[in-house]
Symmetry: C2
Subunit: 348 residues, 2 copies
């Protein structure tokens, strides 16, 4: 199928984003939620910041909200701490705890052409609750009537949850708390009621039994969720062997709901695929990608903070053209265009 | 504090329970839900059955519902399979999959004195859905108005979920599906609405970040759940160092809600504790056990299918006396009495 990466990629890099706090640097600007807002394309960027470390040879710094203060604080771990593992640059791992080396917030960027963005100087949503002490990540924006709902990952010592916030103007925000308990990622709301009810995709991450698979859930009020159903699972040994989860907010096509999702191998090679869900009952999978519709190939995808990653939180659909905004190598923001008919033809 | 184990313990052993299927043997009869039903004490026993293996030196047998048939089938794994791990008698572990060596259903037992039980010949609830292919486990019974609600673990290749069923007579059952997605255990409903809403305890089991801790959730209809809050966590190095989760259905005392919970060390030494929750807002922990209120000491607790386990799914409260029914060593059913004031005095 034909994929047209924007020649201007990456559209946004960490260097384009001003740190939100003194003594911090922006490590990654990626995984943006995206929506049309008035005449603009609006991105809600995940901005990962880390404290500037004067002694990177001696210690690793972990930023987090203080347990009492709920304000950013920095914890320093000597590199010769017993049992410390810093082999993955994103995390500091001990046998009984895992910390993040950066703290993420959500930042707005605006564009008239979808290519050139003006990035806000300050965060739109900054971690502030006990469930957000390690940061807030990977927002998906869904417009329902006149309100924009954002489902995002709240990360804290108590776990990884899916939280809901809403806004009408991207200025005043309401937080609605945890809608899916640990450990859950990659949740997003469908843009319309289905048979009178709200639906969401989500991705539980089980410990003992089962793989990180896509599930569907239902709600009457967007706050309380039930009717959980398994939707799409990993396939051992394939590009979907390690994990699979929602990507862009599903959108309506003639044949049903089209959802761009992500999948990764056990070696964390992240690609995008597409799945067609029944319009009246999206727990029914009608067709899905056999091969990725987007795989890490460009240098900004194959090399970066975490190499070989394409990961999306949203797309803009105009007529036949789907513009997928995506995080490249967990570092920068890119976009690629493809047509709905090409996507449909690629599924089996 | 004074704990009076029943001299008749264990009250029910696997030998007392008739297998539900030909070619199977009852391995464990344990972790019963318990409720007063008319003049009787009614137990809903978790009965774990395994296929009788003619060649235990050569293979291990795994019972599960067939993917298509949703009827019990047996899968045989040679003991010399690559990467097989059968060191834990409860499970067969491969690098990318975990199977159970038994399949559990729920069986009713009835008693007028709470000591001598008559056990049904046939299951009350047998695994039957795609989310129950490995069995149904650990029921907690809550009476709300004239209906008995049972929250139980549904185990399948897609994960460990919390499911809801209801009955008015323990004869006709309604299944309401998954109320909490993977990986979740030890959920139970409070016996009354609190400020007009239903509440539940649950125990997410996270993979990457966080411990297996107790959480609280809210619902208007028992089907859709939200407002998730962290309630009670593990304490490194203590009797609560490995995991902590709900036990008996919480009951009303003068000072709030009293919940008997379970906790285990990292070495799976399972004890019971008690926690007092605010009556109007049970997400507030008022007091809790510093030491276990029940720990494995009797021979039937320290030795069995899984030694050193006491685990409860329910208690009967009459005046000042709490009778805890519990699984002993993951094998049999026992009971112990203690007074509310003793429990209250034991908390700090």
């Amino acid at each position: 199928m034909s994929v047209k990466r924007f020649t201007e990629n990456p559209l946004i890099t960490p260097a384009d984003v001003k740190p939100s706090m003194e003594g911090y640097e922006v490590l990654c600007a990626f995984n943006p939620g995206v929506i049309e807002f008035g005449k603009e394309i609006l991105l809600l960027i995940r901005v990962a910041e880390r404290p500037i470390n004067p002694n990177p040879d001696r210690s690793v710094l972990v930023p987090m909200l203080g347990e009492e203060s709920l304000r950013p604080e920095i914890v320093e771990f000597p590199l010769d701490s017993p049992d410390i593992d810093v082999s993955d640059p994103r995390v500091v791992v001990f046998p009984d705890a895992l910390y993040l080396t950066s703290i993420s917030h959500l930042r707005i960027a605006r564009s008239l052409d979808g290519i050139h963005f003006v990035i806000d100087e300050h965060p739109a949503l900054f971690p502030q609750t006990e469930y957000e002490r390690y940061g807030i990540e990977d927002p998906r924006i869904t417009k329902i009537r006149d309100t924009y709902y954002v489902v995002y990952k709240g990360v804290s010592p108590t776990g990884i949850t899916q939280c809901l916030a809403s806004t009408r103007d991207f200025v005043i925000w309401n937080r609605h708390g945890i809608i899916l308990p640990p450990e859950n990622m990659d949740a997003m709301l469908f843009p319309a009621k289905i048979n009178g009810r709200f639906a969401a995709l989500h991705r539980p991450q089980p410990k003992m039994i089962g793989s990180p698979n896509m599930w569907l859930a239902w709600s009457d009020d967007l706050i309380h969720w039930g009717g959980h159903k398994f939707l799409l699972g990993c396939s051992t040994g394939t590009w979907e062997g390690g994990r699979i989860g929602g990507g862009a907010v599903p959108f309506r096509v003639n044949e049903g709901w089209l959802a761009i999702y992500h999948a990764a191998t056990l070696e964390d090679h992240y690609c995008l695929g597409a799945v067609l869900l029944d319009y009246a009952d999206p727990s029914k999978v009608l067709r899905k990608s056999i091969r990725p519709i987007l795989a890490p190939e460009a240098h900004y995808e194959t090399t970066g903070f975490k190499s070989n990653v394409v990961f999306t939180c949203g797309a803009i659909v105009k007529g036949e053209v789907v513009t997928i905004y995506y995080g490249a190598a967990d570092e920068s923001i890119c976009a690629a265009e493809m047509t709905i008919s090409d996507i449909m033809d690629s599924m089996s």
